[in-house]
């Protein structure tokens, strides 16, 4: 667009205002988490801590296990979930991207139909619970719902068909390389951008995951950060049963905000470095597969 000066000024000022609106609520959360209990009880949550205190964080880290274990489980779930998901998605997407594979359209249809129609949560809850006995295992946080998204399969297939020419692969085939070798040695290096994008999106999904936990996890040893938040939402005292052996008095007003900060901060700190891939991924995804 050919902008007038007025338009430029307008664009910058509105974007600054919108950015502030997006960030400021988080500042309230952070500020409240480092305010002393007494000051919060009198003045409520405010944007500037009147009396700084790290009591809430001290409480959370007092027994040295609770929060660290929750972080550990969150990181483990994110790592395993993202890796397994990337492997499964890549394998499926690559196989149906090969033009001369009989039945590839049938497979693609099966993937696609699963995106449009689902049996709903009731049957799948009963299946995971009663047939697979997934309750209170690490699998419960990783396996149901998230491992293979049809959307990412189709997005990746599109990338493979348009970016990896069959001729290059054909020449390697003549040299006698097996299909798995070709995939690992040739295709994967060429597909780094799409792998980074899907990996990033899946990592965010797993980091933020709480619905599987809501349905399948009641053992507090398996709580991720998000699940601790979920337990505390209606009752801040819930942390007492999760963090046992802490003799301090519970700073019940600030503790909520402190846990929320711990759940949000890692993603907010890491994201700016990967923003490019994320934005690109959404743009690719918008183009029909």
């Amino acid at each position: 667009m050919v902008e007038s000066k007025k338009m430029k000024i307008l664009a910058y000022s509105v974007m600054i205002v919108l950015s502030v609106i997006c960030v400021v609520p988080f500042l309230l959360m952070i500020s409240a988490s480092v305010t002393s209990e007494t000051s919060l009880l009198v003045q409520g949550y405010s944007f500037w801590p009147k009396e700084i205190s790290f009591g809430a964080y001290e409480y959370l880290f007092a027994d040295g296990v609770t929060i660290l274990r929750a972080y550990g489980i969150t990181i483990l779930v994110t790592f395993i979930g993202t890796s397994v998901s990337l492997v499964l998605t890549t394998l499926l997407a690559y196989s149906i991207s090969r033009k001369n594979l009989p039945g590839r359209n049938v497979i693609a249809f099966l993937v696609f139909f699963a995106m449009l129609f689902n049996g709903g949560i009731v049957p799948s809850y009963i299946m995971w619970n009663n047939f697979f006995h997934i309750k209170n295992t690490l699998f419960a946080l990783i396996v149901p719902n998230y491992l293979v998204f049809g959307f990412y399969v189709i997005m990746m297939r599109t990338y493979f068909t348009s970016n990896i020419p069959e001729e290059v692969l054909e020449s390697t085939r003549i040299d006698g390389a097996g299909e798995f070798t070709i995939l690992v040695k040739m295709v994967v290096p060429m597909a780094v951008p799409i792998l980074a994008t899907v990996g990033m999106m899946q990592a965010i999904t797993y980091w933020n995951e709480w619905q599987n936990g809501l349905y399948y996890v009641s053992d507090s040893k398996l709580y991720t950060i998000q699940l601790i938040l979920n337990k505390m939402i209606s009752n801040a005292d819930a942390i007492k049963t999760i963090a046992t052996n802490v003799s301090m008095e519970l700073p019940s007003v600030s503790i909520r905000m402190a846990v929320a900060v711990l759940g949000a901060l890692p993603i907010m700190c890491i994201f700016p470095f990967f923003q490019k891939y994320y934005v690109k991924g959404i743009t690719i995804g918008a183009v029909k597969g």
Binding site: M1, V2, E3, S4, K8, L10, A11, Y12, V14, M15, S19, P25, F26, L28, Q43, G44, Y45, L88, L91, L92, S95, I96, L101, P102, L110, A114, L116, N118, G119, G120, V122, P123, S124, M127, N130, N145, V148, E179, F180, I204, N208, E209, W210, Y215, L229, N230, I233, S234, V259, A260, G263, A264, I267, P272, Q275, K276, V279, I282, A286, K288
Partner: protein
Amino acid sequence: MTRKRKYNWRRCLPFYLMALPALIYIFINNYIPMFGIVIAFKNYKVTKGIFGSDWCGLDNFQFLFRSPDAFNITKNTILYNFAFIVIGTVCAIFVAILLNAVKSKVSRNIFQTLILLPYLVSIIVVSYVVYAFLSPANGFINTNLLGGLGKAPVSWYEEAKYWPFILVFVNVWKSFGYNSIIYVATIAGFDNSMYEAAAVDGATTWQQIKRITMPCLKPTIITLTLMSVGRVFFSDFGLFYQVTMNSGALIDATGTIDTYVYRGLMERGNIGMSAAAGFYQSLVGFVLILAANGITRKLSKDNALF
């Protein structure tokens, strides 16, 4: 002939092996539960399992549709979605046009990162942020804003009338950055010579937006809107469950099909009605997606999903 086929089969085998793990997963995760929807027509007993339980015909549906809940959750789900679609789309386009007017790449990236932050954190964190504002005893609005103005505090989580606005605001706040990305990319792809020619002829910025940007965006707007319309029967469970803190006083104003199914299954133990509501959502939702895609196909074949 047979020889050639054998050769082909051997060549294709590795690809089928590659597809197999993910297909098994999709079969278990997506297809088996599809057969499980028969549970909506059964009097489910845990001891007898899905297929062993007795048929009860349409009893579950009768209970569901005779209760006032069915109408209410359908209405809420659809109305909230329409508000999200209309307001969300307008905001996304507005932001996309402004972002494209920011020419410095660094500033644009900073803006884009900042407006994406609310989308990246989990909905639970968002509900804590909302709670920091609305908590009756300590929330910023009651203590600092209303208190400062000398007004009486409001018990936000008990007053249903505010929640349609709160939820629409929270949803738009959380997702406008994400929704604008596709429009930003689309606008960035427009041929700049159109704008240059218009500028030479003396078109103002507003005229350029109205006569060039908007008409060129029309196909994208139509496609994305139709895709969202296809999903009006599904709601963001986290938004309606977590952000309202599952408060009983708000259920009439904020209950959707998804929260109803959850509460039936996990809180009230009413699996039959829950399954009936889930079946109703899957079926109508599926029909709506097909219809939306059909319309998109009629309008422009390239933009249809299938």
